[in-house]
Symmetry: D2
Subunit: 387 residues, 4 copies
Amino acid sequence: MTQTDTLLSLFTETRGYTEKLCKPLEIEDYVVQPIMDVSPPKWHLGHTTWFYEEFILKHFKKDYKLFHKDFAFVFNSYYESVGKRVVRSDRGNMSRPGVAKVYDYRHYVTNEIKELLTSKISKEVEELLLMGIHHEKQHQELLTTDIKYILGNNPLLPKYSTDFSENKITTIDQEWISIAEGIYQIGHSDKNTFHYDNEVNRHKVYLQKYSISNTLVTNEEYLEFINDGGYKDFNFWHADAWEWLSESNITRPMYWHTIDGEWYQYTLQGLQKLDPEAPLSHISYYEAFAFAQWKGCRLPTEFEWEAAQANFKWGNRWEWTESAYLPYPGYTKAPGAIGEYNGKFMVNQKVLRGGSVATAPKHTRHTYRNFFQPELRWQFTGVRLAK
Amino acid sequence: MTQTDTLLSLFTETRGYTEKLCKPLEIEDYVVQPIMDVSPPKWHLGHTTWFYEEFILKHFKKDYKLFHKDFAFVFNSYYESVGKRVVRSDRGNMSRPGVAKVYDYRHYVTNEIKELLTSKISKEVEELLLMGIHHEKQHQELLTTDIKYILGNNPLLPKYSTDFSENKITTIDQEWISIAEGIYQIGHSDKNTFHYDNEVNRHKVYLQKYSISNTLVTNEEYLEFINDGGYKDFNFWHADAWEWLSESNITRPMYWHTIDGEWYQYTLQGLQKLDPEAPLSHISYYEAFAFAQWKGCRLPTEFEWEAAQANFKWGNRWEWTESAYLPYPGYTKAPGAIGEYNGKFMVNQKVLRGGSVATAPKHTRHTYRNFFQPELRWQFTGVRLAK
Amino acid sequence: MTQTDTLLSLFTETRGYTEKLCKPLEIEDYVVQPIMDVSPPKWHLGHTTWFYEEFILKHFKKDYKLFHKDFAFVFNSYYESVGKRVVRSDRGNMSRPGVAKVYDYRHYVTNEIKELLTSKISKEVEELLLMGIHHEKQHQELLTTDIKYILGNNPLLPKYSTDFSENKITTIDQEWISIAEGIYQIGHSDKNTFHYDNEVNRHKVYLQKYSISNTLVTNEEYLEFINDGGYKDFNFWHADAWEWLSESNITRPMYWHTIDGEWYQYTLQGLQKLDPEAPLSHISYYEAFAFAQWKGCRLPTEFEWEAAQANFKWGNRWEWTESAYLPYPGYTKAPGAIGEYNGKFMVNQKVLRGGSVATAPKHTRHTYRNFFQPELRWQFTGVRLAK
Amino acid sequence: MTQTDTLLSLFTETRGYTEKLCKPLEIEDYVVQPIMDVSPPKWHLGHTTWFYEEFILKHFKKDYKLFHKDFAFVFNSYYESVGKRVVRSDRGNMSRPGVAKVYDYRHYVTNEIKELLTSKISKEVEELLLMGIHHEKQHQELLTTDIKYILGNNPLLPKYSTDFSENKITTIDQEWISIAEGIYQIGHSDKNTFHYDNEVNRHKVYLQKYSISNTLVTNEEYLEFINDGGYKDFNFWHADAWEWLSESNITRPMYWHTIDGEWYQYTLQGLQKLDPEAPLSHISYYEAFAFAQWKGCRLPTEFEWEAAQANFKWGNRWEWTESAYLPYPGYTKAPGAIGEYNGKFMVNQKVLRGGSVATAPKHTRHTYRNFFQPELRWQFTGVRLAK
C-alpha cells in the first residue's frame, strides 16, 4: 500500500468508527449538554468534520465550496485564530443544525477529503490530515465519556449498549516494581510516527529510586478508603480539594449509587452492582491524591510512569499523575491555528497517562500525555500508586 | 350537549391543539432549554399530561396504573406537595424520556381521561379537569414563546411556520380614552364560568380620573426612544433596571437585529424587516416603564386597565401594568397542591393584562391576570400608555 | 423664632445627634461593611455631609471652596446625576479618609451651612436644607441598624451602649380593631409640613371591611411558629421565599441564638435572654408573611394601616405591609438629582409603615412610607396582623 | 551567645520589626480587607501572635492562661487541625478586637515567650519557636504587600512612607548566562539551618543546556509589550489567561495609571512617574508568560533558576518560574497542624524564586520556594527570562 492508501484507509476507518459509536443513540441524546465539560454528540460529529474543512479543504482543495456558511461559527471549539464561535456553554442550547443535517455535513466532507486523496497531496496536507484523524480519535474518547455522562445522569439511567464492557478485570496479584535511580529518556523518539507537539522534545530526566504498582487500584480498595472516613478527614486532602469537597458535597466516585445499603455503579451497560475487583474509575485528581495519602503512598510523576511502563499493563483507565501539565524542554508550538492545539492549555492542569477503555483504536502510546483540571471526573480516570 | 360532553370536547380539542403546535418541530427542537425560563417542548408535553395523572387519575380512576413510575419526578414543575422533582435548570439536560415516549404518555393519559368521562364524574373531578384543561392552555402559550426562544436564539434563525403571523396591524388612530373618577368593580363576577383563584374576590376599587390609549405602542415609536438615547439616560429607569441594563448590555427589544444598518426582527415566520407599524413586543417591564417615562406618560394599573378595557381592542400583546402581583381582598388559596397554583407567586412580579397572539383559543378574558418578573422579555409583551 | 432660626436649630440638633449616635464606637467600628446593605459609620457621617455640600453649598454659597476634590466621588451614594462614585460594595474597603478627617469634613460643612443661614435664604435653599436634614435623619436610623449589624455579627458580640433599650414592652391586651368598608383618604395632606414626594398625592382609596390588631406580634408568638415547624412547611411561604430559605439556611430571626438549649437575642445592650413579651424584630417580609399564613391571618396593606393607625400605638418596629412600593396617583418626581431620591426605587420592594426604636426624633408620621426588599432583616422590622 | 540567646534575640527583633512596619498606619488602615487575598494588618498582628500561643504556649508553658478564649477562632488562618475559624472573607468585617487590644495580645504573648526562654527549652520547642519566627517573617512580607494594596487601591492614593523605596535600579547591562547540560543538585542541603519542609529532600535534577538573563525585565521593556498590543493578541496567552483577561479587563500591571497620557505607578512612597529603568513588578504569572512569549523567550523552571542563581543578583522581585508547585522527591509533611504549613497547597500554584523588597531581613535563601496562584499580582512579582 502507498502512503496515500494507508492514509485513506485510516481516514475512512476513523470516520466510520465515530459514527458507529453513535449508533445506539436516540436523536434526543445527540443534543444535550448537561455540564460545561460535556459536549452534545452532534457537536462532536460536526466539530471533527469542521476541522478537516477549516484546515484542509478551505486551503488545499480547489474551488472547495463550504457546506454551510455558518457552520464554522457553530462548530469551532476554541481556535481564536479562525474567528468567532458559539460559546461553549451554548452548545447544548442549539437544536439546529439537526442530527440529519450534521450527518449530511459529515458525508459531504468525508467525500471531499476522499476526492482530495485521489490526487497526490503535499507533505503539509498529509500532516494536517493525519492531525485531523488523530483529532477525531481524541474526540471519539470524549464522545464516549460524554454519552456516558448524558445517560448516566438522566433520572431514568438508560443503557448505552450491552456490548460495551468497561471493567476488564485483571487477575494479576499486586506487586511493587522497583526502578533504579538514574537518568531516563522521556518523550517521543521516532519523528516519523504520529505524535503531538507536547510529546517532544525527547529529553533526559533524572529519577530517584522508586517503586510503582503493577496494578491499578480497585473499587474494593477505594471502598475501604470511603468506609474509613477518607472523605471526612482533611489531612488527606489539598486545601483546594477540601474546599471543592465542601462545595460539591462529593462523597464517592461519579456514577456510584447506594440503593438499600448496597453499592451500584452506572456503566455504559446500565446500572450494575459495584464490582469490587474492577479498577476504580471516575475519580478526580483530588480524590486520587487523597486516596494515595490515606494509603501511605503517592501518585507517580509522569516521568516515573513513562520510565516504568514497559513493566506493567495499562490502557483501561487514564491514570492521574502527580505532574502538572508543562512543556518539555525545547517545546515550540506550531505557527497558526494548529499551534493552539496543546500549548495554550499548559497551566492549571494535571497529566494523565495510559489510555482508557474509551480511547480510540491505535490512539494510545506510552509517550501520550492527556491532561485535565484536577477536579474533573467524567473520564475513565484511575489510580496507580507509587512510593 | 351535556356538561360532560362539553368537557370532553374541550379536553379533546385542547389536547389536540398542543400537539398541533408542535407539528413544525424537528425532534431536536423538543429537547433544549437555552435559558432557565424556557422549558423544552417535550417537557411541556409531559408536564401538562402529568397534571391530569397526578391530580385526577391517581385519585379518581379506579385501578389506575401509572404510565411510568419516574415520570412524576421528571414532569412535576413546582408542586412541593406532591414530592421531589427534577430541578428546573436540568429540564434541558434530559434526553430521555424521548419525544416518542412522551407522546405515548400523552395518548395513554388522554385515553384514560376519556374513559373516565364515559361515566358520571363528580363536581370535584369536573373542576379539576377544567383546571387541567386551562392549565394546558396556559402551557400552550408558553410552548409557543419557548419555541420562539429556542429557534430565535439559534445562530441559524430557522423558521417555525409561515402560517404564524405575529404582527396584526391596527389601522385605528391613536386616541386617549378618558375615564371618570369613582368606584369601579374589579375581578371575576360569574362564579359559574372558569377563572383562577387570583381573579376573585370581585371588589370595589376607587380610581382617580385618568386617560388610557386606545392603541398599543408601535415599533416605530419605540425606535424613536432608542434613537433618542433612551437606553443611555438613567433618568428614565428604575435603579434595579439601570443595573440590569449594565449587566445585560441590553440596548433593544429581544429578537431585534441590525444588519447593514437596517432593523430586522426575528418572528415565528423567520427573520423579517422590522415593521414600523406593528405593535412593539418582547420588552421587559423595565423597558416598558422607561419608555413611558420618556414619553411623559405612565403605564396603567391593572385596575385602570380592567375598568377601561371595554373601550379598546386588546389580545395581541400582553400588556405590562404598573401593578405588582398581589392578592385581591379576601383571597384564599385552595387546600392541597392546587393551592400552589397562583398564591405562592404573589411577590416580586408585575401584572400583565390582555392576552397575546400566543394565547390559546378561549383562554383570554378581561379579568385574567398574567404575571412575570420585571426583567423578562420572551413573552409577547407590549405597552399601552396611560396618563 | 423666625423660620430661619427654626431651621438652624433643627439643623444643629440633627448634626449633633448623628455624632452622638457614634460616641460609643471605637475607631475600627467606623470602617467596616460586613454586608452590601450595611454602610460603614464613617461613610454615613461623610455622605450626610456631602449631601449639603453637593446640593446646597456648591450652588448657593458664594465662593464656596470644596473641602476635598475627591470627596464627592467617595461619598455619593446613588445619584447618577452628579457623577461617578465608589461602588457600594467598596465602601468598607476604604480606610481613608480616616475618621478624624471625616469629622473635620463634617465640622467644615456644618459651619458653612450655619454661615449661609446668617443671611436670608431663598425658598429653594430652605427646602433643600430641610430635605438635607431629613435625609440625615433617615441615615441616623440606618446608622443605628448598621452599627447593630457590625457589632452583632462580630464573634465577640460587643455591646453598643447600655442606654439603648430596644424592647419597649406593651402591657396592652391584644384586640382586633374593626374598620368599616368605604372610601378613605390616603397620603400627606398638609403642604406646609415636611414630607417626601412618595407621600403625595393625597387620594381616595376604597377599602373592604377588615380587622387589624392593636398590638405587634411578640417573640413568644413567633417562637410558637418556629416550634410548630413553620420554617419547614412550604405551605406558608412564597416560592421565592422558599428558595431564599433553602439557600440561606435561615431558621430564625436575625440576632437570635441558642446556647445550651436557651434562646438569646443580641441587642444593642449586648447578648440577652430572649424576652418573650418583647415585640418580634429583625424578620424579613417573607417571614412576616409566612407567620401570618401560619396564624390564619394576613399582613395589612399600607392603606389599611394608614386608615386604622389612629386606633393603635406604633413606632417601635417598622411594620411590614402587604403592599408593593408603588407611586401614588399623580406622582411626579422632582427635576434633577433630588428626583432620584425615591422614585427610582419603586419596583421590587415592599412598604413598611410606622417607624422604629432606631428612627430619629421628629422623623415619623403616619403617612411616612419606608421600603425594603422582601428578604432584608437588619432593620427593626416587626409584624402587625390583619384579617 | 548561647543558642537560646540567639533565638531570643531573633524573636525579639522579629516581633519588633512587625510592629515597626505598622508604624505609618492610621488605625483605620489596620481593619480593611479590600480583596480576599489581602488580610487586614491587625489580623496579621494577631495571627502571628496566635501561632506562638497555639503551638507553643498552650502545650509547653506551665499553667499558661489564654489571653482571650475567642482569639483562636478569630486568628486561626487555615489550620483545620486546631478547630473552627472565621472564614477568610470575613476578616475585614470584624472591627473587634480593636487595634489596641491586638497590641495588648501581642505584648502578652511576646512576654510569655520571653519568660519561657528564661528556662532551658527542649529541641521540639526550639524548632517550633524558630518556625514561629519564620512564619512571622513570611507575614511581614504579606503585611507590606497588603498595606500597599489597601492604600494603593484607595481613591485618595495615600502614601505609606517616604522611606520605603521599591525600585532599586541596576545599572548592569543585560547579558545571557549559559548553563551547561547535566545533573544539578537542587534543594536545601544543611540540616542545621532553618528551612521549610518544601525545600527538601535535596535531590538531583537533569537540566538541558539553557541561558538565563542576568537582569530582570524592566518597566520599559514591558511598556513595549503593551504598546505592541501584547494584551490584545491571544497568541501569547494561555487559554485560562485569555479568559481571565476578558473577565477582568486587565490591560496593564497592577498600580499602573495613565494620567493625561503619561504613565504613573503607585508605590509605597505614593504616586510617581513610572520609572522606565526600574524592574517590572505586580504582574501575574499569566502576564509574565505572555511577555516571555512575545519576546521569543520563556520563563526559567525553578530548577534552572536555582542552578544558575549564583551568577546573578536577585532579591528585589519575586520571580515567576514556569514550575508548578509540587513536592520534591521524598517529601513528607510533619505530623499534626504544622504539617498543614506547606503540603496542602501543592496544587494549582506556580513557584516563585528569589525574594523581594518586601521580604523580611534574613528570610531569603536560594532554595526558598514561594508559591501563588497564576493570576495573583499584589506581590512584588517580576520576570527573569530564559531561553
